[in-house]
């Protein structure tokens, strides 16, 4: 920022002998490089997941369609689940956390960079394993492969092994990245950056990382048991002889429910930053919002049995799951209340990040409200495992990971590349996605609630009266696909052709806007004293005061002496 000599510049002479860009990327332990690779990988896999969703919806276009065989459909379903959760949603959230959170707290790097680098390598390895089709046949066991279907006796090819290896590698990678984030945000905050002044997004990163450190090993344990069952005659999930099929459900749902909460916490943290920046107001009631995000992580994960309301477990456990799910109304309600209250009295500038953030609030509210219906035990006995559940999950997670993730992309893209993403294309993409989301998934609410169409089935019958719903849903998903593609293309084009952004295009209040776009490897040459949650606003106010004083002084001086 300053033009006075800097010790860092002495090293610049060596830069001409730097290795090629791809070698830099492959060997870098810098949190910005790793974050960008995670985000790019996630967006690539979003495209692949969307293609898989489109193929499944085409199969479900008309009753008793033969476009995909039952086996092909089940493989597509399993790949779609693993891709969208493990290769898109979680890495996208982690990528932004990893890139932005250290900058936001004024860290000049991360605490355990090599650990994070290993985490990225494990994620890449997981992706490679899942998609090495020439070595493995894809799993046919579904999004969450419930034991005993996932056991060797029922699926004897190596699909489930590949699934378990891929998700296991990726999850281990996420845990390592999370450990580094926790350590960095704990130990490397700038002077004055007390927890009460940490930006909400960095707080969301802390909460999510702790959540991953708790739930990740649970899934890893379950996957290990599954691999022992399949490859070494284990009996963990076998019926009788000391095994229990329900054990898999408990362990896996702890992870999947926690991951669901993680994606929403990421989205809410992003929305909080965007809403407060663009309405030029600090977040309404920060402490309550931050406490609510932590409460969502804890209570939400404790509600894992919400997914098991039709399983043969005691009714007391089902009521417990319902209690936890309904208790979530309070923290989610408070966060949404505070986000909307932030807008009140502000001066909102309608730019692409804001559009996506507001759309995310709307979609998440629809998804969570319908999850609430799913969590009432008696009602669940009707709507569980119908397309109503599909629609609820997709509204919440497309709202969180796609709309929330794209909001983050449009917001922080200028910081990462120094260029702004195309505004018009962003707006077109947004409205296309919203249209696709509504057309694609509202009909599934109706098909599930009224006709009880079941999930994961490769066909339905004309007699079930759900044909119209499914036709509209398929059209909607095709529109959604176009919308996703527009933003991905926008990002690719804007990387080289976007308008230059400068270091602070949105006049943000948090420290990442204090440094260059893209930041130097060491992030900051100098750091301001952090005295509030809005260090950059403090600087602007101080400059404003000084300018005003100087002007007043100049005005006084120019007065003729009486």
């Amino acid at each position: 920022m300053s033009t006075s000599p800097r010790p860092e510049l002495v090293a610049e002479g060596y830069q001409s002998s730097r290795r090629p860009r791809w070698a830099e990327l492959a060997t870098s332990a810098d949190h910005k490089e790793i974050g960008q690779i995670l985000i790019c990988g996630a967006l690539g896999f979003l495209f692949i997941a969307a293609v898989e969703l489109v193929l499944m919806r085409l199969q479900l276009l008309v009753p008793e369609n033969t476009f995909l065989s039952p086996v092909a459909f089940n493989r597509m379903l399993s790949l779609y689940g693993a891709t969208s959760v493990f290769l898109f949603a979680i890495p996208l959230a982690l990528g932004f956390f990893y890139y932005v959170a250290p900058l936001q707290v004024g860290a000049r790097g991360t605490a355990l960079p090599r650990l994070g680098q290993t985490g990225l390598a494990l994620y890449v390895a997981g992706a490679v394993v899942l998609y090495s089709g020439f070595l493995f046949t894809p799993s046919e066991a579904g999004v969450n492969p419930l034991a005993p279907l996932s056991e060797l006796a029922f699926l004897s090819n190596n699909g489930v092994d590949a699934w378990a290896t891929a998700t296991g590698l990726a999850t281990l990678g996420f845990v390592l990245l999370a450990i580094n984030l926790v350590a960095t945000l704990r130990m490397m905050r700038a002077p004055g950056m007390a927890w009460r002044r940490v930006p909400v997004f960095a707080w969301a990163a802390t909460v999510s990382s702790w959540l991953l450190i708790v739930i990740g090993p649970v899934l890893l344990a379950a996957l290990t048991m599954l691999m022992i069952d399949r490859n070494y005659d284990g009996i963990f999930f076998a019926d009788g002889s000391g095994g229990a099929p329900l054990l898999w459900q408990h362990l896996s749902w702890i992870f999947f429910t926690g991951a669901y909460m993680l994606i929403l916490i990421f989205a809410l943290g992003t929305i909080a930053e965007i809403v407060s920046t663009f309405s030029r107001k600090p977040l309404f009631n920060r402490p309550v919002t931050m406490a609510s995000l932590a409460a969502i992580a804890v209570i939400g994960t404790l509600a894992w049995m919400q997914n098991m309301l039709t399983a043969p477990i005691g009714i007391g456990w089902k009521y417990y799951a319902m209690l936890m799910s309904l208790a979530l109304v309070v923290p989610f309600g408070l966060v949404l209340f505070n986000l909307i209250s932030t807008l009140v009295g502000g001066t909102l500038r309608m730019r692409a990040p804001v559009l996506f953030a507001l759309g995310a609030i709307s979609a998440i509210s629809i998804g969570l409200a319908s999850e609430l219906v799913q969590s009432l035990v008696g009602a669940a006995w009707h709507v569980k495992n119908t397309t109503d559940a599909t629609a609820a999950t997709h509204f919440a997670l497309i709202g969180g990971a796609v709309l929330g993730g794209f909001a983050a992309l449009y917001y922080w893209f200028p910081k990462m590349t120094g260029r702004t993403m195309g505004e018009l294309m962003g707006r077109i993409s947004f409205w296309t996605i919203i249209t696709g989301l509504l057309l694609g998934f509202v009909p599934l609410f109706l098909a599930g609630d009224e006709q009880g169409q079941v999930v994961d089935a490769y066909k339905y019958f004309d007699s079930a009266d759900v044909t119209a719903y499914n036709v509209i849903s398929t059209i909607g998903v095709l529109i959604l696909f176009v919308g996703l593609l527009l933003t991905i293309v926008n990002a690719i084009l804007s990387r080289t052709n976007g308008s230059p952004a400068g270091h602070d295009p949105w006049s943000g209040d948090t420290l990442e806007w204090f440094t260059l776009s893209p930041p130097d490897p060491h992030n900051f040459d100098v750091l301001p004293d952090v005295r509030s949650a809005q260090p950059l606003r403090d600087i602007r106010v101080a400059i404003g005061h000084r300018t005003r004083r100087t002007e007043q002084g100049a005005a006084r001086e120019s007065q003729p002496v009486a």
């Binding site: 029922f154 495992n385 609630d449």
Partner: protein, 232 residues
């Protein structure tokens, strides 16, 4: 959905309550969002004004949300408890089921439902039960997890290998109720349909007797073939 069992009636009502609650929440959030976005744009030219959120406001909002959740929880428990209660067998029902419910086993296997009746008879695909009679259905599985799903009559229930899962229903009208399976169970999962045929107690009695005698006759024939090596 058209509920035809006392339990399904309760489920239907609870579902309606849930949907109303969900619609209220969605409308509240989106209306507030829409208002805030319309009203507070930068085009209005005013300087942003910071609202100070007293703790009391947050407590009030939190209290309203807690009351909302608590009310839903209580309603959920009440209706769920009603839905899982064993119904009583009525006048028109099976006489032998007056004191305790008729016990039938539903066993899922890839990709069929098998029903075992108290007299030892069994049937595949179609379950036949007497009208106005309390039925205790024990949902089981011999291989993977299957979810027995006949929405109009009874709660969804997972059959998990090695676990017993009992649900109750009592059909109030004769007819055929279509159903299927609701948990991915492999290749032919989508074709794993089932149906419940509700008939008069007399027809039910004669059905299980015929099934039993036919099954026994078939077994005898098999034994004959094995012992005598010839088809009678």
């Amino acid at each position: 959905m058209a509920p035809h069992s006392p339990g399904s009636d309760q489920i239907d009502t609870l579902l309606l309550i849930g949907i109303v609650a969900a619609v209220i929440l969605v409308i509240a959030v989106n209306a507030a969002l829409f208002y805030a976005v319309r009203r507070f744009r930068s085009e209005r030219g005013a300087a942003p004004r910071q609202l100070h959120s007293g703790r009391r406001l947050q407590f009030r909002v939190g209290a309203v949300l807690t009351a909302f959740a608590a009310l839903l929880f209580i309603l959920g428990v009440v209706f769920t408890d009603n839905a899982r209660e064993a119904p009583a067998t009525g006048e028109a029902g099976l006489a032998s089921a007056q004191s305790e419910p008729l016990q039938i086993k539903a066993t899922g296997q890839q990709w069929l439902w098998r029903y075992d009746y108290p007299n030892g008879a069994f049937s595949y695909y179609k379950l036949v039960v007497p009208v106005d009679t309390a039925v205790e259905l024990d949902v089981l599985s011999t291989d993977v997890v299957h979810t027995w799903n006949v929405n109009d009559l009874a709660p969804k229930a997972d059959g998990v290998p090695g676990k017993s899962h009992k649900i109750f229903f009592s059909a109030d009208e004769e007819g055929v109720y279509e159903g299927d399976s609701a948990t991915l169970s492999g290749q032919a999962y989508a074709s794993m349909q089932t149906a419940v045929e509700v008939v008069s107690p007399e027809k039910y009695e004669s059905f299980i007797e015929t099934q039993k005698s036919e099954i026994e006759a078939a077994q005898e024939r098999v034994v004959d073939v094995i012992e005598n090596g010839e088809v009678p």
